[in-house]
Amino acid sequence: MRRIIAIALLAIIVMGISLAVREIPFGKTDTKVGEYYLNEGREETGAANIVTSVVVNYRGFDTLGEIAVLFTAAIGLGAVFGSRKKRKVAEEVEKSSLIVYTGCRFLFPVILLVGAYIFIYGHLTPGGGFQGGAVVASAFLLMYLTCRGKRVRDKSNKVVESLGGLIFVGMGLVGLVIGKGFLFNFLPKGEFLTLFSAGIIPIIYIAIGFKVGAELAGVLDNLIEESK
């Protein structure tokens, strides 16, 4: 019964969407806003990666909201688990084999470095705070899976998380204080295509990278702790 209703509903939506999509030809975009960003973005923000300049500068307020969403989810996840009484986890942690352990010890800093590279060069090459942060978190995932018993320290995680968010907000507020509006790109744009360019974009993306990395690592930590 439920299936029939679902299929009927889907059929109606299929009809509707296919009618609407017919008016959107594929591969012929010339949108006002997109064109403007492509033509002016290089001059106005100084970032080579226009997606980054859109994410961090033109639509930076969205990104602030977005890290707030991730923060909300991370805290919410903690609240969902935290309201239960902490069981004492005293079970013997089974050791990984030596090869796995050594490999993990070797790979962990390398992956961290890759993640850091991705978010530091976010304004020049593909990638940025979110991608880099996810890579950093995956390094911690590796550590949780192989070097069992090692945890990211709760306190330092919290500090990184908070500071990342506060640097973003602070950068925005500086723009407000000098009178050009919240999130105004107040630093010099620098020389195009070099690391030190694009004003506040790399700083914000690095802050985002740290924050996202810390948050996703915290989420994984919470889930793994719970699943013991």
Binding site: N49, V51, T52, I118, P126, G127, G128, F130, Q131, A134, V135, A137, S138, L141, L216, V219, L220, L223, I224, E226, S227
Partner: protein, 80 residues
């Protein structure tokens, strides 16, 4: 040429999605859905969106799968 690659990718992706629908073993379903994400990442790359492709590969395919597997390990593996 591009069209053929895209068609093949889309078909495989849809098959993986249907597999995720059918599998009773949740672990298999999760793997199928991570295949969907991975192919989506490749398609993003074909559509000239390398930033999104990276995000989808790192977050959608890797981390989400890990979270799913952790959750399944904690609950039941098979659908009733």
């Amino acid at each position: 040429m591009n069209v053929i690659i895209a068609t093949v990718l889309v078909l495989v992706m849809l098959v993986a999605a249907i597999a995720a629908l059918i599998f009773k073993d949740l672990l298999n379903a999760v793997i199928a859905s991570s295949v969907v994400s991975l192919i989506a990442a490749v398609i993003f790359y074909l559509l000239q969106a390398p930033d999104v492709a990276m995000a989808e590969a790192a977050i959608g395919a890797a981390l989400v799968t890990a979270i799913f597997i952790i959750a399944i390990r904690r609950t039941k593996r098979f659908e009733e």
